[in-house]
C-alpha cells in the first residue's frame, strides 16, 4: 500500500506543480563566482523506474474505490513499462546523471560524482562542512517524478514524456546556495515559478498500448525528456 501512496503523491505533485510557487528561484551569478570550476554532482534523488500517469480519468469520479482501481491500473502500467526498460537495458537514472555530466562539461566545469545515501526524494538539508579537496560546489538534484503522462483518456490527450525536478548548486566552502530552481518538462496544469519545457512533439502515443508497441521509440522519448531537463540545468549554471 505504501507503494500506492507514493504513486498517489506523485500524481498530486504533478497535477499541482503550482504548489512549487513558493520554492525559490535563485539565478547563478557566474561572473561573481569565477572560482567555481569543479562541481561534485551528488547522487540524485531519483527513482530508478518511471511512472506512467493518467492525470484524469473516470475512476477519479468514484471516490475511494475508483481511486484504488486507478492506482492498481497505474501500478500495472508502471510495472510493464519498467519491464520494457529493463528489456532494453535502459537505466533512466544513469542516463540522467550522464546527461548532467555532459551539460556541465559543455559549460566548462570539471565534474565528479559524489555518492550519497538518500532517505527521501527531496534536496538534501545539509552539505559537507568545509567541502572536499578539489570540489568547489555541490550540485544537488531531486527528481520528484518522471515518465509518461496523459492528461486524460482518448486520442486527443496522448501520453507524452514528463519530468519534475529541483536543483540546487551549493558552494562547498560555506554551503551558500548559489543557484536553486525547479525544472518541469511537460507539466500538467499551470506553472509559474519553474523552468517549463514543452515536450518534444515527436514523442506522443495515443494510449498505453501504442506507447509500449515500439519500445525503442518509447525509450527515445523518455531519454529526450531526461536530456532536455539536464540541459536546462546546464543553462542555469552557464
Amino acid at each position: 500500500m505504501n507503494h500506492f501512496v507514493q504513486r498517489a503523491i506523485a500524481c498530486l505533485f504533478l497535477a499541482g506543480l503550482a504548489a512549487c510557487a513558493g520554492a525559490p528561484e535563485i539565478p547563478f551569478d557566474r561572473s561573481s563566482n569565477a572560482g567555481i570550476k569543479n562541481i561534485a554532482v551528488i547522487q540524485p534523488a531519483m527513482s530508478p523506474t518511471p511512472i506512467i500517469l493518467l492525470a484524469s480519468d473516470i475512476g477519479q469520479s468514484f471516490g475511494l474505490i475508483g481511486g484504488l482501481i486507478d492506482l492498481s491500473m497505474q501500478s500495472n502500467r508502471d510495472t510493464k513499462f519498467a519491464a520494457l526498460l529493463s528489456a532494453q537495458g535502459v537505466k533512466p537514472d544513469a542516463v540522467f546523471l550522464q546527461d548532467v555530466h555532459t551539460t556541465l562539461s559543455a559549460h566548462g566545469y570539471n565534474v565528479v560524482d559524489m555518492p550519497q545515501a538518500r532517505s527521501g526524494n527531496d534536496l538534501l538539508k545539509v552539505y559537507p562542512k568545509g567541502g572536499q579537496p578539489g570540489v568547489d560546489a555541490y550540485l544537488d538534484l531531486a527528481v520528484f517524478s518522471y515518465g509518461y503522462v496523459a492528461a486524460g483518456i482518448g486520442d486527443s490527450t496522448p501520453y507524452r514524456p514528463f519530468l519534475t525536478a529541483r536543483c540546487r548548486l551549493v558552494r562547498a566552502s560555506d554551503s551558500a546556495v548559489l543557484m536553486e530552481d525547479t525544472i518541469a518538462y511537460n507539466p500538467v496544469g499551470p506553472v509559474q515559478k519553474a523552468v517549463t519545457l514543452s515536450p518534444d512533439p515527436n514523442f506522443s502515443f495515443k494510449d498505453f498500448d501504442t506507447l509500449t508497441a515500439d519500445p525503442g521509440v518509447a525509450v527515445q522519448g523518455l531519454n529526450t525528456a531526461l536530456t532536455a531537463s539536464a540541459n536546462s540545468i546546464g543553462t542555469l549554471v552557464q
Partner: protein, 213 residues
C-alpha cells in the same frame, strides 16, 4: 440536492470560476519587419522606464512595456530592433526578472544587456538564459555594482522563426442531481503555435534579497 452538499458545490464552483477568470492574453499578430527609417544607433536614455525594487517574498511590482510598430528602434549590425530601456534602482544587488510575455500568436524575441550610467554595455544576458517559466520567456539575472540600465530589444536574428509548444491541463466539473454528486475529471492537450516577433510585451521585476536576520 441536500443542504450539506451546498458547501462542496459552492467551493468547487468558486475554484472553477477562479480558473475561468484567468484572462487569456490578447492575440496580437507578429511584427516581422521594422519600417521606420529613423532608428537610432544607441538607445535614448531619456526614455527610461523606472522600476521599483521589492523585497524577496513581497508582491513584485513589475514595470511593463508594450513594444509595437510605434516604439523606438535601434539600427544595429544584425538589423533593426524595437527596444525599451529600464532604470535599475540604486542599492543592489538585485535579482532582475526580465520576461517576454506571450501575446497569442506572437512573442517578442528578446535580447537584453546591462548598461552603465553612460549607456555603455557592461554585460549581455545570453539569449539562452531566456527560458520559459509558465507562459513567459524569462531570464533571471543577478545585478552588479555600476549596472544602471537594462536594455531589452527584439532580436532580429530570431524574429520570424516559429515557436511550437504543447500544454497539458486537467479540469474538474461537478455534477449534482438530487442525492448524487459526481466530479468529472477530464484533461486537455493543446498545441499552440506562435512566431518570434519584434513586437510584444516586456515585464521587468527587480527584487532585493531579504535582509539577514
Amino acid at each position: 440536492m441536500t443542504l450539506r452538499l451546498l458547501p462542496r458545490v459552492f467551493s468547487l464552483s468558486a475554484a472553477l470560476l477562479a480558473s475561468a477568470c484567468i484572462t487569456p492574453p490578447p492575440d496580437v499578430p507578429p511584427l516581422l519587419q521594422i519600417t521606420s527609417a529613423n532608428c537610432a544607433a544607441v538607445p535614448d536614455l531619456s526614455t527610461v522606464v523606472p522600476t521599483v525594487a521589492t523585497i524577496d517574498g513581497d508582491d513584485e511590482k513589475p514595470a511593463i512595456v508594450t513594444l509595437d510598430a510605434t516604439s523606438r528602434c535601434l539600427a544595429g549590425t544584425t538589423g533593426k530592433s524595437l527596444y525599451a530601456i529600464f532604470s535599475i534602482p540604486d542599492g543592489g544587488p538585485y535579482t532582475i526578472n526580465v520576461s517576454s510575455v506571450s501575446l497569442g500568436s506572437s512573442i517578442l524575441a528578446p535580447k537584453a544587456e546591462m548598461l552603465d550610467a553612460q549607456g555603455a554595455v557592461l554585460h549581455e544576458l545570453p539569449t539562452s538564459s531566456f527560458l520559459f517559466r509558465g507562459t513567459n520567456l524569462t531570464s533571471l539575472y543577478r545585478s552588479h555594482a555600476g549596472e544602471r540600465y537594462l536594455l531589452v530589444e527584439s532580436d532580429p536574428a530570431n524574429v520570424g522563426k516559429p515557436l511550437q509548444r504543447v500544454k497539458e491541463n486537467v479540469q474538474v466539473n461537478a455534477v449534482a442531481t438530487g442525492y448524487v454528486y459526481v466530479e468529472i475529471h477530464t484533461g486537455t492537450d493543446v498545441a499552440s503555435t506562435a512566431t518570434w516577433s519584434h513586437n510584444g510585451q516586456i515585464s521587468v521585476s527587480v527584487v532585493r534579497d531579504k535582509p539577514a536576520k
